[in-house]
């Protein structure tokens, strides 16, 4: 995304939200996003909850964007990365909270998942043992 397009997005977002990292859109673009750092937006006057925004860096980031799933929440359309990737990736991240999240997602979606796809991600991220230990038990 070039700077001009980002500035248009910024101008729209700051009508309802504020960036808690920097108030300057050029800084947000040049100092943060172009250097692979994220920025965060929250509702005016609040710090939490906030939405993290960053540019894709790895092939996996791009794949997530290109293979996103559509979710309608309160009549708003959201794009999320595939649950079959989210579960192995959380196991890869490795904190207790990530493990809890992975287990929660698996329990919630286990009947709807493409198990072959998730297996392949577990193999590539080397999380198969963790998956069996944490999600399957």
């Amino acid at each position: 995304m070039d700077c001009e397009k980002f500035c248009k997005l910024w101008d729209e977002v700051v009508k309802k939200f504020e960036c808690v990292i920097t108030e300057n859109k050029k800084d947000a673009y040049n100092e943060y996003l172009l250097n692979n750092h994220s920025i965060r937006f929250s509702e005016m006057g609040k710090y939490v909850p906030n939405m993290e925004v960053k540019f894709p860096k790895t092939d996996l980031d791009l794949w997530s964007l290109n293979n996103s799933i559509k979710v309608v929440l309160n009549n708003h359309l959201l794009f999320l990365s595939k649950i079959e990737l989210q579960i192995p990736f959380k196991l890869f991240l490795g904190s207790e909270k990530d493990f809890e999240d992975a287990k929660f997602l698996y329990e919630l979606f286990k009947d709807k998942l493409d198990n072959s796809l998730m297996e392949q991600f577990n193999e590539r991220l080397k999380t198969t043992k963790l998956f069996n230990r944490i999600c399957k038990k």
């Binding site: 710090y47 996996l60 791009l62 293979n67 796809l117 392949q120």
Partner: protein
């Protein structure tokens, strides 16, 4: 059914990304703590309570 082509996964790159994300999160927590110090207990705790509840 459309065949899904998986991405290249470089584990060293992802480990590096994980480390950077962790540092970034720590920076964010420091900024959040600074923000909390400037606000009244009622204000920051009511925002936290909404998330927890």
């Amino acid at each position: 059914m459309q065949k899904i082509v998986l991405p290249n996964i470089d584990l060293r790159e992802l480990e590096e990304q994980k480390r950077e994300n962790s540092e970034e999160r720590m920076e964010f927590i420091k900024k959040y703590a600074e923000w909390i110090k400037k606000k009244s207990n009622r204000e920051w705790s009511s925002q936290q309570a909404k998330i927890i509840d």
